[in-house]
Subunit: 199 residues, 4 copies
Amino acid sequence: MGKALENKFQKRSSLFDSAFHLFTTKGVENTSISDIARDANVGKGTFYLYFKSKQDLEAKLISHKASGLFEQAAEKLMTYPATLSLEDKVIVVVNFLLDQLIENPILLKFIYKNLSWGIFRNTIRSAEAEDSGDHISLDDLFGCSRDDFIEPDLMIYTIIEMASSTCYNVILWQEPVNIEVYRLFLDKNIRSIIRNHKR
Amino acid sequence: MGKALENKFQKRSSLFDSAFHLFTTKGVENTSISDIARDANVGKGTFYLYFKSKQDLEAKLISHKASGLFEQAAEKLMTYPATLSLEDKVIVVVNFLLDQLIENPILLKFIYKNLSWGIFRNTIRSAEAEDSGDHISLDDLFGCSRDDFIEPDLMIYTIIEMASSTCYNVILWQEPVNIEVYRLFLDKNIRSIIRNHKR
Amino acid sequence: MGKALENKFQKRSSLFDSAFHLFTTKGVENTSISDIARDANVGKGTFYLYFKSKQDLEAKLISHKASGLFEQAAEKLMTYPATLSLEDKVIVVVNFLLDQLIENPILLKFIYKNLSWGIFRNTIRSAEAEDSGDHISLDDLFGCSRDDFIEPDLMIYTIIEMASSTCYNVILWQEPVNIEVYRLFLDKNIRSIIRNHKR
Amino acid sequence: MGKALENKFQKRSSLFDSAFHLFTTKGVENTSISDIARDANVGKGTFYLYFKSKQDLEAKLISHKASGLFEQAAEKLMTYPATLSLEDKVIVVVNFLLDQLIENPILLKFIYKNLSWGIFRNTIRSAEAEDSGDHISLDDLFGCSRDDFIEPDLMIYTIIEMASSTCYNVILWQEPVNIEVYRLFLDKNIRSIIRNHKR
DNA sequence: TATGAATGAGGCTTCATTCAT
DNA sequence: TATGAATGAAGCCTCATTCAT
């Protein structure tokens, strides 16, 4: 039983890995379920035992990858004193994510358009996903100082959207400036946004 | 001759309209070239007289729509005194675009992820496109006060990315706040970004 | 398992039969893959499980049919005493093939231009084909008396080309003479060619 | 009028040239009427003013090219004394054709499968073609010594089929021997065939 | 649970042919 | 006579999905 279960997880994991590899290499469009099954050394029919469709797999894969990122960010934050101001906490998190994506541009390419409010909410806040168990909430991330801000959700939303949408070109193509120059302004802009939301 | 030429423009235009309608209704993915041709009352082969592929049409359509938007924004700006500060000019333009997209959320849905640096540069700055003739430059938009700013391109880039990526959910789903609330903070944030780039 | 394998052979065989029927009836050009699949009571996609393209099927079909013919010729030759002169052996083989094609003009029509040096060498001599296993060599056919002739390959080549290219019109259209008249001269001419190559 | 007629011939000729070029370069199959018209600098509709279809053009082109060859062969024969034996005349003609095809393997490739009894008869003997006027008859070629042979048509047929079908591989691929070796045997074999038909 | 052969709908694209100019 | 835009039938091929083993 344990072995069967292990085997099951292994197959699912293998499908995830193959899909990620193919999606980032050939593009989601040009990757067929056959391709994924073949690459995962799994029968074509087996795919349907784990995922309803390519879209289903794609969503779960994004969720999976994004979860991993945010988890790591949360862990990173733990290493800092809890007394850190929210402003500094956000900076720490954003810069950590930036570092991750700089190191792993393929991951960036994949979750680019999806690492935004929708996925953030679904990934971080919800517990409906099957990948549940290891979720963290927004409040976990930033502590319970929400009362100090006007529209704190909007604030986070704006920061995430701005950071994720701008970093894509900067990291991948050094456009319109390289990442080091960009980081200076990003930090400044984030701090401004936070201040604009202070009560 | 004149008639033939007129007919040609009409066909191309008809294909554009049908494609826009179907893309925004059913999604680009679920729209086939057959669908477009049928909707445009045009033979399937006729499509290929005007576009190389669905991707080709999509790119041209985005460019076409975005061009239109920016042109209108530029015209709008003309109605203001030229002595307006760049800060105010940007605010005027962004708010104009916001108004357009609020009025036309379908257009927003379509150009959403594309109204960014890449398309902005290609659409506004370049003249290589076949749809040329009616392009406007970044300098036309904001005057020649670039020297007053550090990394003015990055500044514009950041503003465009932030505004376009945040407004999507706000306009379409009133998430995480409604557009009127959002506008207050957007203006503040834009002004902060501009100030952060002042020399 | 045995059943599945049997089913597979049956499908392939069915596709072969349908293709042969349609190719000889409507011509290769005018036969679509859809036609073949429909005639074989097989899904269109199934075709591609067995053949890469129509050309692929065509080549395999020619090889298949020609192999069959030459095998039978070889078997026929076995029934004659081994002491037969090469001249007589060739006459026996050619006349056997002629008889086969007279009886089966549709087969003649199909393999007509292909039953020549290229296909002969590829079909008879090579073992690289997937349909391998039942190939016979030129030496098997004629014994090892090659040393008695100048350019024995050229001799066989000339005979095959002459016989195959002439018999087409004669068998199918009785042009310029009927087959019985033709046979008299063919035998004489073949014997002459063989003598012209004798050392 | 003369100019219009000249223009007409020029267009037809241009279409012929382009078709020959494309047919021998890309193959008949892969050449579309559009290709031919474009290559000939002629409107697509214009094609249909001169030919009914690609097949029509192909037949006329083969006829055209083969006619040219045989005409030249006849002219060549004129330079020999009329007292030459038929055997020698045939050898002269065949060797002349061989020389032409050696010099122009592209032409060989094109008319290969077609330079046989059917086209020979249609090209040489018939007068129904639109390219008429410059035809020569079999009798013109060989004089009126037909009575000296049994089945003279079959004799010529056999020689033509043998020579044309064998020379293809020999000239183009030097298979199974090179052309110089082949020529020795070809001449011998032709002479044998003629003798086999002598009364 | 795992497989992969079979399916056929439906996508893309080409091209012969027509016809208004 | 000459053109080439327009057409839509028809071909090729892919692929998500099913199902018997």
